[in-house]
Amino acid sequence: MVGEEFAAQLAAAQGGSEDAFAVLWRDANPALVRYLRVVAPEHAEDIAAETWVQVVRGLPRFSGDESAWRAWLFTTARRRLLDQVRLRKRHPAEPLDEISVAEEPRAAAAEQIAMDNLGTEWAMELLSRLPEQQAEVIMLRVLAGLDTEVVADMLGRSPGAVRVAAHRGLRKLATLLSGAGVTL
């Protein structure tokens, strides 16, 4: 989190400061990418890039605190994700030779990433085993730092349903961890 400097950095970025924008980007992009790797592992990088394009274009018009900033960022990412899902449904098949390196199956990339940060990658892989909605709620609550109401607004569900989903996800996560006997 940027913290107290957020308002100044945002204002500077809106005034055209590339360095101020870089501060915002470095703070938010890792969480964004991790969120997308859990909910859309095959297209996380692409969606993240598209998200930032949208955010940059809307930056001059944004107003709000850091919580609102993160909510806007992840909402934009989720919309990009839904667009991607719809696109994939319309065009389900792609020739193999047109798949770029960035779109290669995650397993190969995950191997390298795991070498860099085994704990983070292992945690994301663990969250990927949860039902999609539970994993997404936990990621938005923990990674993005959004409160229950904001997440409920994003997902179009009631705050109670979001809370229940998060609790069930954590319980299942605990069960998975205890059953596997894994320690980080």
Partner: protein, 330 residues
């Protein structure tokens, strides 16, 4: 004193408050059963890897491109409206929705008269001109077509109405010959057909109107104004016999007829209706009255062309109450 340990509690080792604390990032007092979960969540929040920061250059490039395009577009808008960059930028910041506003909306907002619009959009979007067709212009074009069609229909309707109105032939004939009384002629047959219609109309203008009306300005039956006034007087005196219910004075009418024909240059045949029409049309709004055939035939020598309408005055003239053999109300 019990000789055994109390039974263990099989309830859940954590509750929802512990889960909420985990979700909120409070990992200090985590129960033992949730310790591994807390560690996994902490790993999710770990410091970013180099791979996760590898896209910074691309993001910066995107930001630079947008900043350049925004500055270009906003400068252009500022030049158009005379507003500084910052003012237009603040107007953009008022948006709250996410899509790029059209340029005309940005300019309107910068003027302070338009509502807020959506944010977001491609670089240079705010400066992109509105691509849609102007609705008002489209409607205006459609309205113009409709107006043209309505005007055409109105003209056709007026022409059709004029053609079917009683006495229209008189008016059109009078007006067509009015500009050329010295050369304008109408056939006897045409006059005969007009007689039936005009005889049944029987207008009754007053004598005062006959005395005070001047000749229309749009016609010039003779080249001089004195000749015009004389023609006007003779015509009105002649047609006065047809415009009120007094008995005809055929000799006087014949004299007037000859005088009028003399003014017109004694054409043969002479169509008095065509010549006097411009002067006396106000006396007969429903069309000029038919002129007896014997008068029309005065200038045509032997009794030719008048047909059955011709009746000599010395033979008693036309039967009172009739005209051209057709009863009239006078």
């Amino acid at each position: 004193m019990p000789d055994s340990f109390p039974p263990p509690t099989w309830g859940p080792p954590f509750d929802e408050r512990n889960l909420d604390a985990l979700l909120s990032g409070h990992l200090a007092d985590t129960p033992q059963a949730l310790r591994q979960v807390a560690d996994a969540l902490a790993a999710l929040r770990a410091a970013p890897t180099p791979a996760e920061l590898a896209g910074e250059a691309a993001a910066r490039a995107e930001f630079r491109a947008l900043a350049d395009s925004l500055a270009l577009g906003l400068d252009e808008a500022a030049r158009t409206d005379g507003h500084p960059y910052a003012e237009v930028l603040s107007a953009l910041a008022l948006d709250g929705t996410g899509r790029p506003p059209a340029r005309h909306r940005i300019i309107r907002r910068a003027r302070g008269t338009g509502p807020g619009g959506p944010p977001g959009g491609p670089p240079g979007g705010p400066t992109r001109p509105h691509r849609g067709r102007p609705r008002g212009r489209r409607l205006g074009r459609k309205g113009g077509v409709m107006m043209a069609a309505a005007s055409g229909a109105l003209v056709v309707a007026v022409i059709a109405l004029a053609a079917t109105m009683p006495g229209s032939a008189h008016r059109s004939g009078g007006s067509s010959a009015a500009g050329a009384p010295s050369s304008g002629h109408q056939s006897g047959g045409g006059t005969g057909s007009q007689n039936v219609q005009a005889g049944s109309a029987s207008p009754e203008p007053s004598n005062q109107a006959t005395a005070t009306h001047a000749a229309p300005h749009t016609v010039s039956p003779s080249p001089t104004s004195s000749a015009q006034s004389e023609a006007n007087k003779l015509c009105r005196d002649f047609y006065a016999y047809f415009s009120h219910p007094r008995p005809h004075d055929w000799p006087a009418e014949e004299t007037l007829f000859k005088q009028i024909a003399g003014l017109a240059g004694d054409p043969s045949p002479f169509d008095v209706n065509s010549y006097c029409g411009p002067y006396v049309r106000d006396m007969f709004p429903h069309g000029l009255p038919p002129i007896p055939g014997f008068l029309q035939g005065l200038l045509s020598g032997p009794q030719t062309g008048a047909g059955n309408d011709r009746q000599a005055p010395n033979s008693g003239g036309p039967v009172p109450g009739t005209m051209n053999g057709i009863p009239v109300n006078n």
